[in-house]
Symmetry: C2
Subunit: 147 residues, 2 copies
DNA sequence: AAGATTTCCTACTGAATTTATATAATAAGT
DNA sequence: ACTTATTATATAAATTCAGTAGGAAATCTT
């Protein structure tokens, strides 16, 4: 798997804050319930988002989280790469020292193409784009999407 | 990682047979040496390639492997998917039952785009293409690429 | 027939990663 | 004080990854 549950949770967490944090702080407890994510796991994830200053936090009652910047300014790639570490599709690309054959490996050309294709999607999509998708209802059923 | 060592080994193995099997059978021992892959691990991999009839085998001295079809007829996706099982970038796509939210999950749209981007590279590249890359020497150094 | 070579088959294992749980501390509001 | 909520750190269960091991079966050579 290129993107694990942790990365997907992070993305949904950011989307959740985007959509529910118009006026007040968004509590982790509520995100966890809406998104069906174990809160203790989500704590670790939002801690990373907080340290990277992707979100601002406040403690105590009326506390919670807000985005530091508007959704337009976060690409999916920024979020996923922060949480997952890297999205290289093969270890050869993630760690140059992984293989001493890399400088004469034809497969490397392929992996680079693959990496570019992945990055074009991840870095070419912002949270705002995804919110747009959800409001335009690109779903067959009538249910309100909960990202 | 989207593609593990196993999948990369399989691809290099098929390329090795393509390039060294012009007239006689290619022995696993030699592939393992050229490609620097543990032979016992490679045995398992080629066993799968054999069962899928991607290669033909012969036993005994003068035995070895040959491609069942010319390199033009194998896409990278065919090989990788056989060995890795699937190349879905997220478990949501690999297993529909993985998440009951899938039908109303906005992230799903993203993962489908990502999946399409990955498949366009993997299914759009054949072994013959890669052999072409290697013969055209798209490398900076002078060493002969050993795929 | 004997021995060498090579493929074929199945099970096992150690390490790392993933996906959480658990416990407690810190801060803020009422 | 008491409640709410974030922050920090440690631990654990489950899964996957990347091999390793041992031998059986087929084929060729002498």
């Amino acid at each position: 798997m290129l993107i694990s549950a942790k990365g997907r949770y992070a993305l949904r967490c950011m989307l959740d804050i985007s959509l529910n944090g118009s006026e007040e702080n968004v509590k982790l407890k509520n995100i966890a319930e809406r998104q069906n994510i174990p809160i203790k796991y989500l704590e670790q994830i939002i801690s990373a988002l907080n340290k990277a200053d992707f979100v601002k936090s406040e403690r105590g009652p009326n506390g919670g989280y807000r985005l530091s910047k508007p959704p337009e300014e976060y690409t999916v790639g920024m979020i996923i790469k922060l949480i997952e570490g890297d999205t290289a599709p093969v270890s050869c690309l993630a760690d140059v020292n992984d293989c001493e054959r890399s400088d004469r490996c034809v497969s490397m050309i392929l992996w680079k193409k693959l990496n570019d294709a992945v990055n074009s999607v991840l870095d070419g999509t912002t949270l705002a784009d995804m919110i747009d998708w959800s409001s335009k209802g690109q779903f067959i059923d009538i249910e309100i999407p909960n990202y």
